[in-house]
Symmetry: C2
Subunit: 277 residues, 2 copies
C-alpha cells in the first residue's frame, strides 16, 4: 500500500483551478480561501479557471492565443459552474464563449481564442527592460495584503504601492516593474501565465498616496508564447511591467508585459479598472 | 409636400450601422459594399454595429466603457442578426454578451461593458505625440485599397504601408502615427470612435516590404472619454498611434491610442492579428 506521504500534493494554483466536467460544456469549480482578494477571489485565478474549461474540452483546437475576462460581480467561495461553448472552429483557430454561473447569476463572462501556430517570419519588436535579477530585490511582505498575494513571490523593482511607503505621497507615473512567479515555484503553463498577467496591483495605488476601493472590470491577455516557450521557462521569475494611460472619473486602464527568463515577451495584457476616490 | 432634396442623407457610417430591432434582444443589420475590406466588411464597422445593439437596447445603462470583438469568420454582405444580452447590471455598470449570427453560424462574438461615471480625482498620464496639424499631411490615396478606406480621411504622419513605397524595404519599427476622421466629416460618437479604433492598417504592412494575408482575430477598445468629451470633439481629426510588440509564428499584437483635438486621450485599443508569410 502506498504511503500518503509519497503522493505529491497539488500546487495551490492547481488546487484552486481544478474543474470537474459535468457535461461536454459545463464544468464545476470552487476557489479556496487561499486565493481570496478584498471582495471575492483574485481575478487572475478566476481567469485561469475560465481558461481551463476550453483547455479540458474534447473539442479544443490548439493553444490559447487571446482571452478577455469581464468581471461583473463578486464570486463567492462556493462552487460555481463554467459554461464553455465553441462558437466557431476554423482550420487553425477556434473561438469560445465562456460564462461563470453562480447562485442564478453570471458574475463573469469571457471570450477566448485558441490557435495553432506555424513557422513564419517572426520578430520581437518590444525591448525587455534592463534590470538586475530577482535576487537583488526583496519579496513583497504579504502579511497585511489579501490572502492571494501569499501565493506569489513578487519582487518590486520600481513603482510600488504608495500607501505602503513610510511617507506616502502622490506619484506622477503609474509604471511598475516587478519580478513574479508562483509560490511555491511551479512550471509555467497557460493558466498560470494568465493568472500572473493579473498580478499587478492597481495603478491608482502607485499614483495616489491613499487606499481607495478598486476592481478590475475587463482584462484581456494575448499569449505571444507557444507551449514550447512556456516549457522552456520552467519555474523562473517573470519580469513584469505595467503602466496606465488615463484615469478618468472612476475608470483607468493599464497595459502590461510579461517577459520570460530567456528574454522572450511571453504575453501582453490590458485591463480597465473601476476606482472610487 | 416636402422635396426629397431637403431630406438630409444618412452619413455612410450611419447607413452601414443601422440596426432594426426584431425583438428586445435581436437586431438585424447589413453592411453595404461601401465598407468592404479584402474579405468581408471592415472590422471597425462590424464592431460599431455590435456596439449599437446595446446602445439601442431598452435596458441599456450608461455609456460604453469597454468592448472586445472576436473575428472568427467572414461576414457576407447580406443581412445578419445581432443577439445582445445583458448578463449582469449593477448600480453603475452593465455587462453585455453579444453575438453576430449569419447563415447558421456565429462569425463574431463580443462582450461589452457600459458604465456611468462620477466625478473623481482624474489624471491623463500618457503624453500626446507632438505633430503638425492634419493640413500638413496629404490624405491617403484610397484608389488601390479596399472600399472602406474611402470612407475615412487618413493622413499618415509616419509609419506608412511599406509596400506602397517607391522602393519597399523592411522597417525596424511598426509604429504608425496618423490623423483620421470619417469622410465626409461626421460628429464623433461611441460607434464612430470604435470604428476609428480599427483604422490602423496591419502592423506587418509597416514592418515588411510585401503584402501578406492578414486578419484581426480579437480587438479590445477602452473608452476613456465620456459622451460630453465626444460631443466637444465634433468632427475634428483624431491623432492616432499604434505599435506592435511581438510578431510570432502567425500572430502579432498592436496597441493604439486615439487622441482628441483638445489633447484628451479618447480611447486606447489593442488587437491580435493573424498573418501568413
Amino acid at each position: 500500500m502506498e504511503s500518503p506521504a509519497t503522493v505529491p500534493a497539488l500546487h495551490p494554483l492547481d488546487a484552486a483551478t481544478t474543474l470537474e466536467a459535468l457535461s461536454d460544456d459545463r464544468f464545476q469549480g470552487c476557489i479556496p480561501p487561499a486565493y481570496a482578494n478584498f471582495i471575492g477571489p483574485f481575478g487572475g485565478v478566476l481567469a485561469a479557471c475560465l481558461l481551463r474549461a476550453p483547455c479540458m474540452h474534447e473539442r479544443r483546437l490548439g493553444d490559447p492565443l487571446a482571452i478577455t475576462v469581464n468581471f461583473g460581480g463578486p464570486v463567492a467561495q462556493t462552487p460555481f459552474e463554467i459554461h464553455a461553448r465553441p462558437t466557431i472552429t476554423n482550420r487553425s483557430s477556434q473561438h469560445w464563449a465562456l460564462e461563470l454561473h453562480q447562485d442564478g447569476s453570471i458574475p463573469l463572462t469571457a471570450t477566448a481564442v485558441f490557435a495553432r501556430r506555424r513557422e513564419t517570419w517572426s520578430a520581437q519588436e518590444a525591448a525587455r527592460p534592463e534590470v538586475a535579477g530577482p535576487g537583488h530585490y526583496p519579496p513583497i511582505d504579504s502579511r497585511d495584503l489579501p490572502a492571494w498575494v501569499a501565493n506569489y513571490d513578487i519582487r518590486v523593482i520600481s513603482g510600488g504601492m504608495s500607501f505602503l511607503a513610510d511617507s506616502p505621497r502622490a506619484q506622477d507615473s503609474s509604471e511598475t516593474l516587478l519580478w513574479a512567479r508562483d509560490l511555491p515555484a511551479r512550471p509555467l503553463d497557460f493558466p498560470a501565465l494568465l493568472a500572473l498577467s493579473d498580478v499587478f496591483f492597481p495603478r491608482i495605488f502607485v499614483r495616489r498616496p491613499t487606499f481607495v476601493p478598486v476592481g478590475t472590470i475587463s482584462l484581456s491577455t494575448y499569449f505571444h508564447a507557444d507551449a514550447g516557450e512556456l516549457a522552456d521557462q520552467g519555474d523562473a521569475h517573470l519580469l513584469c511591467r505595467a503602466r496606465g494611460k488615463r484615469f478618468h472619473n472612476g475608470y483607468f486602464d493599464h497595459s502590461g508585459e510579461l517577459w520570460g527568463a530567456g528574454g522572450a515577451l511571453l504575453a501582453t495584457t490590458h485591463q480597465v479598472v473601476y476606482y472610487k476616490e
